[in-house]
């Protein structure tokens, strides 16, 4: 077997895409041929390097936030544009229908038929079309200037509430802190005196048909448990929903409740609507807590000692050095203190993220549904869709009434005038 045939097959060999026979051929050749063995090893090493090239690479912070800001900023003008476009389309269709009707009437002459509401059907149809266009226009690209203006507006908007990501425990300090670390070493044994520091957070997603009522219920519940709401982000408006029949309101609530009553709070919150997702996360920060507390105490001792040295400082250089050391220690102390306060707060109060999603029909999610259950729920879904569709059609037809009325009146008036004229002409003729 020639070496270059083997070399050709090497990539396939490393990919594992060769047949067993070919794999065997490569293997047995490589055993005998040092040059090919070396080449294979080199290729394997390269592939290995490529495989591991990016394994530690993380997306930069703020990537998602930046993207979401752009997405959010781009949506608003579209919604507004949708209204304008819907209005424009509706107006244009009305004018066209009116002109067509007028033309037909003029050509048809003074027909008695003009009294019948023949414009009813098309008019209703146009209205529905216009409404649908509004939905379609939602995704239409907007003018660049408008986008820019909105980008600018988004930039001015204050950023949303700080995410409660735990700051990473500060890494081991420099060599100067050997004493500090020594103090922290035996922290584990003394852990008991601090009690367990466990952070318990929860999230819960609820579907509701009664959005306003349930928002109130959740608020009351939070109050009842001695908690508070840290942020509440509601989106979608009921006016929009009534108009377009979609229920896209949701509320993203972040609440804090005393950690002792987290479980009973969750139990109550589950009663509010249909829970689609929920969970509790626990993290034990006892070790880090004790460690930080020890470090804090050691820093404070060190600070006092350096402060005492100040009295003995002779030269200006020494004073400056001591000053800078003091401010460094102050920073460390603040850092530790801040971390401890943060943990105390997280341990004492659990954060619960509640996502309340308004749906027109809340459906409990059944896992491992049988065929019968699935069929039943599918039929229920399609029946629901059918009924909703029928309702929408009815609303559309009803909404068209004003247009119909206006045209019927106009047509009636015009045909009455024409009828009068015709009658007058006939009378004249008869007189002759």
């Amino acid at each position: 077997m020639k070496c270059n045939r083997i070399v050709e097959a090497m990539d396939g060999y490393l990919d594992g895409s060769l047949t067993p026979l070919e794999m065997g051929m490569v293997e047995s050749h490589v055993e005998q041929c040092a040059a090919c063995r070396e080449e294979l090893a080199r290729r394997r090493a390269l592939l290995d390097q490529l495989n591991r090239l990016d394994e530690d690479v993380k997306a930069p912070e703020g990537l998602l936030e930046g993207a979401m800001q752009r997405i959010h900023a781009q949506r608003k003008p579209k919604r507004r544009a949708a209204y304008w476009i819907a209005g424009g389309v509706a107006a244009a269709l009305c004018v066209t229908a009116g002109l067509a009707g007028l033309g037909a009437m003029l050509m048809g002459g003074a027909s008695k038929m003009a009294q019948t509401p023949m414009a009813a059907e098309p008019s209703g149809g146009y209205y529905t079309n216009a409404t649908m266009d509004a939905g379609a226009a939602y995704d239409m690209p907007t003018a660049a200037e408008e986008e820019k203006a909105w980008d600018a507006a988004a930039a001015i908007e204050t950023p949303k509430g700080e995410p409660e990501a735990a700051p990473a425990p500060s890494p081991a300090e420099g060599a100067a802190e050997t004493m500090v670390q020594g103090a922290a070493k035996d922290s584990a044994e003394d852990g008991a005196q601090y009690g367990l520091k466990i952070i318990r957070d929860a999230h819960i997603e609820i579907q509701t048909e009664n959005y306003d009522g349930d928002v109130e219920r959740l608020r009351a519940l939070v109050e009842e448990f001695g908690g508070f709401i840290t942020s509440n982000d509601e989106q979608g408006s009921s006016a929009y929903n009534e108009r377009y029949g979609s229920s896209s309101r949701y509320s993203y609530m972040s609440v804090r409740v005393p950690s002792g009553s987290l479980d009973s709070f969750l139990e109550q919150a589950r009663q509010v609507g249909i829970v689609t997702n929920s969970g509790v996360t626990e993290s034990d920060v006892t070790a880090s807590y004790v460690d930080t507390d020890r470090r804090l105490k050691a820093y404070q001792k060190q600070y006092d000692r350096v402060l005492a040295m100040m009295d003995q400082a002779g030269t200006v250089e020494e004073l400056i050095q001591i000053e800078s050391e003091l401010s460094r220690l102050e920073l460390q102390i603040e850092d530790c203190q801040g971390q401890l306060n943060y943990w105390d707060s997280r341990v004492g109060y659990s954060t619960v993220n509640i996502y309340l999603d308004e749906v027109r029909r809340a459906v409990a999610v059944t896992e491992n549904a049988t065929l019968g259950e699935r069929m039943r729920s599918a039929l229920a879904d399609s029946w629901y869709g059918f009924v909703e569709g029928a309702k929408d059609a009815l609303v559309g037809a009803y909404a068209a009434l004003p247009y119909i009325a206006v045209w019927v009146l106009a047509l009636g008036a015009v045909s009455a005038i024409i009828a009068l004229i015709v009658r007058g002409v006939r009378r004249k003729n008869r007189k002759r």
Binding site: V7, E8, L47, N51, V57, A59, D139
Partner: protein, 200 residues
């Protein structure tokens, strides 16, 4: 299905938070692909953001015909390729940007010697990948850096399986050639054979 349908449906309906939840697990891979395609961290961050925005806009077109990750890869890949085509004349990045990338990619757990060595390797690889043509680069990165199967790469790049195979094998051959040139090794006659194999 590799994503939760609930959040997908909500996101399609215009729920931004659902989109965030949906896209969260893919941020790193999206950024990694952009980094390899663009070769520069700033560009990569820009393109990754652009990819996310485009994914949001195009979310309605995802009908579950492939895995969500495949679809997102495809969107990301197209964003990068579009941008690269747009500024075709810019070939590789400046040396300082490379060094920056190399240095920042170092794993903090390594010893300084190991770090230096691996930073060196990474720099070389980064530069070599940057010299590949766009099509070759995309195929090689998806296969050898992201470890995707050939079939998935074919879907992402929207080409047939044989083209993917030949592109990858050509890309590997050129990568080896570039690396051996740069490491001042004389190119082995054996690897020439591999290059000659190319598209059949």
């Amino acid at each position: 299905m590799d994503i939760d349908m609930l959040n997908l449906r909500r996101a399609v309906r215009g729920d931004e938070r659902a989109f965030e939840t949906l896209i969260g697990p893919y941020l790193d891979t999206t950024y990694r692909l952009c980094l390899r395609m663009m070769g520069d961290e700033q560009d990569a961050a820009d393109m990754a953001q652009e990819a996310l925005v485009r994914a949001w806009r195009a979310l309605g077109s995802y009908k579950g015909q492939s895995r969500f990750s495949t679809w997102l890869y495809r969107v990301t890949c197209n964003v990068c390729l579009d941008e690269l085509r747009r500024r075709k004349n810019i070939q590789t990045q400046s040396l300082s940007a490379l060094q920056e990338a190399g240095v920042e990619l170092v794993d903090p757990g390594q010893t300084p010697e190991m770090a230096a060595e691996s930073a060196q390797t990474r720099r070389e690889l980064t530069e070599a990948i940057g010299q590949l043509s766009q099509e070759h680069r995309a195929a090689l990165v998806l296969r050898d850096v992201h470890g995707l199967p050939y079939e998935e790469i074919a879907q992402i790049l929207d080409v047939n399986l044989n083209t993917v195979k030949s592109r990858i094998s050509r890309a590997r051959a050129s990568l080896r050639a570039i690396l051996s040139r740069e490491r001042n090794f004389p190119a082995r006659p054996a690897s020439k054979g591999a290059e000659g194999r190319d598209e059949k």
